[in-house]
């Protein structure tokens, strides 16, 4: 038996670590969706470079949507900082050993790439801007008109998206003090979950966002450019089916990776096994099994399977469930991870 009494009671640290609240899960979730969208959007750009219609759904609309989301994610990240006025310090240095330093710089490059990709679409989504700033139109035409440039932008999106997706996992992964995060599978898991959430978010957007011709005026055009990325055409049936098929594959891989994470932790040291118990049978079990696995993976897998088989009508429900599951995954991993710690051998 081991009984430990500690006189320390520092806020956010005791009785168990709680330095990261809702902001970091939101940031990781938004970052994951953006990563997924960049990869999917990049693939669509490669298709356009091969001669597909550049006006098809989620070809040029994805970057605009992802660009908005990355701002949400970075906003959440900023809100998390306790010493906000000094945030610029991150960009005065590069610390090669710090995943967060890598992440900050990657975010900057991602931001630039997304902005460039979004700009390509902007003159079309916001004609007023295109007319006022003709150079944008010229730029957009120069990129969409050249398969070579389109391919370059596509690959930049794919590679940066993969980097961003894996990074969101690596950030947690490197902290030896929190055993739940000590598995190299976290990066791939977050990447695949980001891909399924990215596909789901585009699916939801395709259903909910209005599909009217873009207003011509300055203000109306600006607003519609923000909320009406999808332009005048509804998404093609083929595109939606492709998204669903892709999502089924992503969900299946995510399920396997999730299982491997648990097995990996349970078969490691005592600290890791105790950490795994937090999510498998401990206080986070309801969220892990109920929300992440059942609602977020198994239910949408089954529903989408039936949809493709034409046994039930297409709805947006599976996509919504995937999004709920994707957020729950980050929420559980961030919170349960903070609750996990290295276990004293004598305490077992």
């Amino acid at each position: 038996m081991l009984e430990t009494t500690i006189t320390r009671s520092n806020p956010l640290v005791d009785p168990s670590l709680a330095v990261w609240s809702w902001e970091i899960p939101v940031y990781l979730f938004a970052g994951g969706i953006v990563a997924g969208m960049m990869i999917l959007g990049g693939l669509a750009m490669l298709r356009i470079a091969k001669g597909d219609d550049p006006r098809t759904f989620f070809s040029l609309h994805t970057p605009l949507f992802a660009f908005m989301l990355i701002n949400v994610g970075m906003g959440a990240l900023f809100l998390d900082l306790a010493h906000k006025l000094y945030v610029w310090r991150v960009y005065l240095t590069f610390q090669p050993d710090s995943p967060m330093s890598w992440g900050s710089w990657v975010l900057l490059v991602v931001y630039g790439a997304l902005m460039a990709s979004a700009l390509v679409r902007l003159p079309q989504a916001w004609p007023w801007l295109g007319r006022r700033v003709p150079v944008l139109q010229t730029l957009s035409d120069a990129i969409t008109g050249s398969p070579g440039r389109m391919r370059l932008l596509g690959w930049a999106n794919i590679l940066l998206g993969a980097g961003l997706g894996i990074y969101t996992g690596i950030l947690l992964n490197t902290m030896v003090a929190r055993p739940l995060w000590n598995t190299g599978l976290l990066g791939p898991l977050f990447l695949v979950s980001g891909l399924s959430a990215g596909a789901a978010a585009m699916h939801v957007a395709s259903v909910f966002l209005p599909r009217r011709p873009a207003p011509e005026g300055m203000l109306g055009g600006a607003i519609s450019a923000l909320v009406q990325q999808l332009g005048p055409e509804p998404p093609e049936r083929r595109t939606v089916d492709t998204l669903i098929r892709a999502d089924i594959a992503f969900l299946a891989i995510e399920l396997v990776l999730l299982g491997l994470v648990v097995v990996n932790l349970q078969t490691s040291s005592a600290s890791h096994a105790v950490a795994a118990a937090l999510i498998v049978s401990g206080p986070y079990a309801w969220a892990f099994w109920g929300v992440i696995v059942a609602l977020g993976i198994l239910a949408p897998l089954a529903l989408q399977w039936l949809e493709l088989d034409h046994r039930i009508p297409h709805t947006v429900l599976p996509a919504l469930l995937v999004l709920v599951g994707g957020f729950a995954l980050r929420w559980v991993m961030v919170n349960a991870g903070q609750a996990s710690h290295i276990v004293h051998a004598a305490g077992l």
């Binding site: 310090r89 050993d97 967060m100 490197t174």
Partner: protein, 179 residues
């Protein structure tokens, strides 16, 4: 350059918390926070019980994960003593270092930056002992250069049985507890 460390005799420590109060006073630690604390461990089955009382703080690790994860370089290793310090006006308050420390030795200062034990750098660079060491009524703590074979800390480690906290974390802590 010296490599500062601490050796604490758990056979002498009575858990009076003088070190905690001395630190709070010396370093103007905000109310409700502490840079050092007392841990009491009781092991075994009654009546074969064993108790260890320890004064704990940042271990000024030789391999500090809090320094390697810091995105700004605010957490750094400083001389004299190779101690681990935080530069307040470089810290963005991302709290990665708090999550990375296996000893939970850090906290967010109410002003927003991350704070922790400095081994009383302002005193030790002038050759004084840290406040906690200086104030201890049982003289259970020794402070000095671990690389100097003639120092009190080195002599104690050579002659007495000791252990460090969570050596399995790989952080190479520099506070040792005599048993």
């Amino acid at each position: 350059m010296p490599r500062f460390g601490m050796v604490i005799d758990t056979r002498k420590c009575v858990g009076c918390m003088d070190c905690v109060v001395a630190c709070q006073t010396e370093n103007d630690v905000p109310a409700g926070y502490c840079r050092d604390w007392i841990t009491t461990e009781v092991r075994g089955e009654f009546p074969a019980l064993k108790m260890e009382i320890r004064s704990e703080r940042c271990n000024h690790c030789d391999n500090p994960p809090c320094v390697s994860c810091c995105p700004t370089g605010a957490s750094h290793v400083a001389d004299p003593g190779r101690v681990v310090l935080v530069t307040a006006n470089k810290c963005i308050g991302c709290k990665a270092c708090i999550a990375a420390c296996p000893y939970d030795a850090r906290f967010v200062h109410p002003k927003g930056y991350v704070d922790k034990c400095t081994f009383c750098h302002h005193r030790t660079k002038d050759g004084l002992d840290p406040a906690c060491v200086a104030v201890c009524p049982t003289h259970c703590m020794a402070f000095g250069d671990l690389d100097d074979p003639a120092s009190t800390v080195s002599t104690l480690l050579r002659t007495r049985a000791h252990h460090a906290l969570l050596p399995e974390a790989g952080t190479k802590p520099r506070i040792f507890y005599l048993t």
